[in-house]
């Protein structure tokens, strides 16, 4: 008997429905991943807020004993770490960008959906790691930027900072993966007709932000690796007794740290640039300059890191250079402020809560920017840094800037994400409570700073004139707490009883408003064709907008665009969920745990779990293009395969990583005190392994050329050569390391030893990963499925392999050959 055909559903499921708990654990839908990020971030927002409340309560009166010094130091450390890494960044990048970005460019998902899910689970593991101190030993307590050498084991013996170092390494991994993903997405998956100058400004902001992420995180990673080596393996990267300097940490950290604050600011700028035009019913003023100013801010942000170090004694030339560059960065920022105001000017304003928060952001961020100009002037900064003045400054830019923008974004995009409207009157109440609470808490801090109150002090003396302002701040902080409580109530109420949201509640300008609220899993029934900037507005009202004005005046609503029309879910194929992102994250968690408790077997299990899961992911179906399965045919707005773009972006990130390691090596070699030093190197031996590695690249080229003519046998032969030569390289290196160790050079000996082993060791690690990768391809090539897809697969591995080779040429030259040059 013929089976009854399944009836087509009359309503397509939206992305929130179906799948159960397993559905959420294995999801790779960018919208679900975004929601996961949001839920986690809202939890951590409350945690970070409570930490702040406790800080303020302790500072109510002089010589207060509510909170001990030890607990206070943990509270201010965790407040900063939580708000930056577990609230602002995951909300802006993990939630808003993840949810909105693909919709704005007309894509069905991000470039690498499983890596997207992986980013979230790794983030969650890292976030939990940071908080494990609740159970064991105490939370991290050296400040969110943990200056060496206070962070050395001698001065901070407990587990507190072990959790911090490992937690941040894990969180950094998550962020870089997201950065790669969104970079490739924006570059390759824009709908037809969406040139760069037609992208929504939030998309622009995210593009620049992810480039910042890719280039800024490696110095942090390197700095954390050095701290890990110091704390766990007896190295001396930050100990002056060995000729090292704790200032190295500051350089590495702020090379990351300053772009980091722009990683937090730029998405906020992007969100404001979305909200203000929509609620002014006007296009964004000065679009080209708004786009270029984003790029200029990002570029300049790499040249200002020293302004965090004006008090460290860098000398007048460095101080002046950093002062000037820090002032320069105010110019593109000012352009934005003025352009937003010019957007509002002459507009037809709809005074919603989202708009209120956007307007509030403009003023509050301006105040933060103006105190920033003071900080840029190095002599003034010497009075203001490390005092409550700088605490005021960064809260005005990070809370008044990023958080206000996030709050605006929540009220703006909530209807799209949940299909419900938030309560406007409650939202307005939250807004006013926020304005009063925020300014009452943080404005007086400018004055306290000018009156000499240092930061990070768990108590202060009486008779300094600080008490009343501290009390005002504490009371205001409670008002601020009430504001957030109002928001949580609004969010929860809305999901239960909020008014159903239409697809386009705000008469929006960008493509996310052209589909249902909440969207179906596949986003667009038909990928839209983009005909101009403000793509959706053009779809509704035509290019000049005049038709729209007439319709608007006549009270008519524009016709439903094709992309919004519902289609049965079965007709669009979406990639299946995967459990491996979660498993990889758990493996990373095992690695971190093993390191902290000093049990190498757990580290090994973690490593094996990660490698096995990554390989398994590689054998799941290919990553997702636009509408078809076949990645060779995946259409891409840049014309380059998305995985190639991804790999190039990753290699860019790796360049900065190796550059940080190499720079440290060069600096520390010249500060080396005692020990065998670089004389221990044996150039003839290492020349052999270098030759082997160079020949392996040749073999790799031959392997690629073989598979391109579909010759699997010769491909395997040449690939085998590559692997064998790589193993020769590693073998010689292993011999070298063992030999040096017996000659007395170890991680603990001197600066040369630790820098050498770290730099060359990490390179060797990259070679090892390459060998595993190539071996996987070698074995996979026996499968019948291989022939169709995989010349690209070999090409990608080849690109990576050649990169690792080039890095070795640089290392060999700088470390080994330069030895021969007298005085090097």
């Amino acid at each position: 008997m013929a089976a009854q055909p399944k009836p087509l559903p009359t309503e397509p499921q939206n992305y929130l429905q179906g799948g159960g708990l397993i559905g959420w654990l294995t999801t790779i839908d960018h919208k679900r991943v975004a929601v996961l990020y949001a839920v986690a971030s809202f939890v951590f927002m409350a945690v970070g807020g409570l930490e702040a409340m406790l800080i303020r309560m302790q500072l109510w009166s002089p010589d207060n004993h509510l909170i001990s010094a030890a607990l206070y130091n943990q509270l201010f450390t965790m407040h900063g770490t939580t708000m930056i890494f577990l609230v602002v960044m995951p909300l802006e990048v993990g939630f808003f960008a993840n949810f909105v970005l693909p919709l704005q460019i007309g894509a069905r998902d991000v470039a690498f959906p499983r890596i997207n899910a992986l980013s979230f689970w790794v983030f969650l593991v890292g976030a939990i790691f940071l908080h494990l101190g609740w159970l064991w030993g105490g939370l991290p307590d050296a400040g969110w930027f943990g200056y060496a050498n206070l962070t050395e084991r001698y001065f901070s013996p407990g587990l507190n900072l072990d959790f911090w170092v490992v937690g941040l390494l894990i969180l950094g991994t998550s962020t870089v993966l997201s950065g790669l993903n969104f970079f490739v997405t924006i570059v390759t998956m824009r709908a037809r007709g969406m040139t760069f100058m037609r992208m929504p400004m939030f998309t622009w902001a995210m593009l620049v932000t992810v480039v910042l992420i890719l280039i800024a995180f490696p110095p942090l990673t390197v700095g954390l690796i050095f701290l890990t080596l110091d704390r766990f393996f007896g190295a001396h990267f930050y100990q002056s007794a060995y000729g090292a300097t704790p200032i190295l940490w500051q350089h590495l950290f702020w090379l990351f740290g300053h772009p980091e604050v722009y990683i937090m600011a730029l998405p906020a700028f992007g969100m404001i640039s979305e909200v203000v035009p929509v609620f002014s019913r006007k296009p964004l003023f000065g679009y080209p300059m708004m786009a270029y100013s984003l790029v200029l801010i990002a570029f300049l942000s790499y040249g200002v890191w020293g302004h965090h170090m004006f008090a460290t004694g860098m000398g007048p030339v460095a101080d002046s250079a950093f002062a000037i560059t820090s002032m320069l960065i105010a110019i593109p920022t000012g352009i934005k402020i003025f352009s937003w105001i010019a957007t509002v000017w002459g507009g037809s304003l709809r005074m919603t809560t989202a708009f209120y928060f956007a307007l509030g952001m403009i003023l509050e961020f301006t105040i933060g920017g103006l105190s920033g100009i003071m900080h840029a002037s190095a002599p003034i900064d010497l009075q203001q840094t490390d005092s409550y003045f700088v605490v005021a400054h960064f809260h005005y830019v990070l809370f008044g800037g990023s958080m206000f923008a996030i709050l605006s974004g929540i009220y703006y995009w909530w209807p799209k994400v949940t299909g419900r409207m938030l309560n406007e009157p409650l939202g307005k109440l939250q807004f006013w409570l926020t304005i009063i609470g925020f300014n009452g808490t943080f404005f007086p801090m400018h004055i306290l700073g000018m009156w000499g109150m240092p930061r990070r002090i768990y108590t202060y003396g009486a008779g300094l004139g600080w008490t009343h302002l501290n009390q005002l701040e504490t009371l205001s902080a409670f008002i601020l707490g009430l504001a957030f409580l109002a928001m949580y109530i609004n969010l929860i109420w809305s999901t239960r009883a909020g008014e159903a949201a239409p697809a386009d509640p705000w008469d929006g300008r960008s493509l996310e408003w052209s589909i249902a609220s909440p969207p179906p899993a596949y986003n667009f029934a038909k990928v839209p064709e983009v005909r101009g900037r403000d793509a959706f507005w053009v779809m509704k009202y035509g290019r000049a907008g005049s038709r729209g004005i007439a319709m608007f005046m006549a009270g008519q609503t524009p016709p439903v665009p094709e992309s919004q029309q519902a289609l049965p879910a079965e007709s669009i194929h979406m990639p299946a969920p995967s459990i491996f992102p979660l498993v990889v994250a758990l493996g990373i968690g095992l690695m971190g745990s093993g390191l902290v408790i000093g049990e190498w077997r757990i580290i090994a299990i973690g490593v094996l779990t990660v490698i096995a899961s990554v390989i398994a992911m590689g054998f799941e179906y290919p990553s997702y293009g636009q509408e078809s399965h076949d990645p060779q045919a995946a259409p891409s707005s840049g014309g380059i395969d998305i995985r190639k773009v991804g790999l190039w972006a990753f290699l860019g990130n790796e360049c900065v990583f190796f550059a940080s390691l190499i720079s440290t090596y060069i600096v520390y070699k010249s500060r080396n005190l005692g020990g065998p030093g670089a004389d221990i190197l044996e150039i003839p031996l290492t020349s052999i392994s270098t030759f082997a590695l160079l020949m392996s690249s040749l073999a790799m080229v031959l392997a690629l050329s073989a598979i391109q003519r579909n010759d699997k046998t010769w491909m395997r032969a040449w690939l085998g050569c590559t692997i064998a030569l790589g193993l020769v390289f590693l073998g010689v290196e292993a011999y070298e390391f063992t030999h040096f160790y017996h000659e007395g050079l170890s991680m603990q000996t001197d600066l040369f030893g630790q820098s050498f082993y770290t730099l060359v060791g990490f390179h060797g690690f990259h070679v090892t990963i390459g060998i595993i990768w190539l071996s996987t391809i070698w074995f996979a090539s026996f499968s019948k499925k291989f022939g169709k897809l995989r010349s690209l697969s070999v090409e990608l591995a080849g690109l990576y392999w050649h990169f690792v080779d080039i890095v070795w040429v640089i290392i060999f030259t700088l470390v080994y050959l330069m030895q021969q040059v007298k005085g090097a």
């Binding site: 704790p246 300059m289 000017w345 608007f552």
Partner: protein
């Protein structure tokens, strides 16, 4: 009155009120204020600060005015008859708000660079008084090379003379900050940082460590006594004099206290000239002459010294000094002895 202007007027009122309050507040001079400079360095910074504040205020006024006008005057509301404009660019405006701020920043950067170079002379000025400052967790050591004086937590300086502080760290990064005498300078292990200034108003100024350095970072305070040259010379002489010998002790209790000290673990950490050679803790040779103890966290009174010696950890979490288990007459004698070390 246009209803829409009400919020604008409220905003302006609040701004004026806060300015007024801040103004009032600034008139009463808190002890650690940066706004009442007492040295050449502090004065240069303060002048620069005033300049930048004026520029900032001007920019802020322009932004706020534009903001209020945009929202409350030169716009309509959804539902009103007027249609929105679609002006999205204006070359003149965009050039103006790019070049304008650039010019302002140029005006700020010139005095900035000048002050940077002026305030960081590479070599110590002629005739300057060089003092080595060694920062420890959580106290300050001061060594006057020229006069051979070593003391702790209280820095005496003469007016009218260039002072060159050479900052070294005994452990982690600290920061030397006396707001009334100028900006701060970090104290970094492995390098010597310099701070050069000339104090010009006698008085007692409060200082505090300004770089988080561990558990008792909040308790790492110090005092700077700026004195006339005569007062400073007198202080130097008193510091150079050896402490009174046991038979010349000021009281029997102090004499007994000297014995308590000599026979206690105190000697392994603290130096008293002619008595002990410990260098882990502050030099106590002239402890009695200091106005505060335990790095500026308490006034130096017999009661407080007794409290400190009985239980340092409670007053200063993380401190290396152990409880000595002294009480009763022994404790009183020790306190009397320490207070007698003028």
């Amino acid at each position: 009155m246009n209803r829409r202007l009400v919020p604008a007027r409220i905003a302006v009122a609040i701004a004026m009120l806060s300015a007024f309050i801040s103004g009032c507040a600034a008139r009463h001079e808190p002890p650690m204020t940066t706004l009442a400079p007492k040295s050449d360095l502090a004065q240069w910074i303060y002048s620069l600060f005033l300049e930048v504040t004026l520029w900032d205020a001007g920019i802020f006024a322009i932004v706020v005015a534009a903001f209020i006008l945009a929202i409350f005057v030169f716009s309509t509301r959804v539902g009103e008859a007027a249609a929105p404009s679609s002006v999205a660019s204006d070359l003149g405006l965009e050039v103006a708000w790019t070049l304008g701020p650039a010019l302002v920043l140029l005006m700020i950067s010139i005095p900035t660079v000048r002050t940077i170079f002026r305030s960081q002379p590479r070599i110590a000025p002629q005739g300057s008084l060089e003092i080595k400052v060694i920062a420890h967790q959580w106290w300050w050591e001061f060594q006057y090379a020229q006069s051979g004086i070593t003391t702790a937590n209280e820095l005496h300086l003469p007016i009218g003379r260039q002072i060159r502080l050479n900052l070294e760290s005994g452990d982690v990064i600290h920061s030397f900050w006396v707001p009334q005498l100028g900006g701060k300078r970090d104290v970094v292990p492995g390098q010597i940082n310099e701070l050069t200034l000339e104090a010009n108003v006698p008085g007692t100024y409060l200082g505090q460590c300004a770089e988080f350095c561990g558990l008792s970072h909040a308790n790492m305070r110090f005092r700077v006594m700026v004195e006339t040259p005569d007062q400073f010379a007198m202080w130097e002489k008193a510091q150079q004099a050896a402490p009174l010998a046991a038979d010349k002790a000021v009281s029997p209790s102090a004499a007994d206290g000297a014995e308590v000290f000599a026979n206690s673990p105190c000697t392994s950490c603290h130096r008293i000239d002619g008595v002990s050679k410990g260098y882990i803790g502050p030099d106590l040779s002239h402890f009695g002459a200091r106005t505060t103890l335990a790095a500026g966290i308490m006034p130096n009174t017999p009661d407080n010294v007794a409290k400190w010696v009985t239980d340092p950890e409670t007053l200063k979490p993380g401190v290396l000094m152990p409880k000595l288990g002294l009480s009763g007459k022994q404790l009183d004698d020790l306190v009397a002895y320490l207070e007698s070390l003028k």
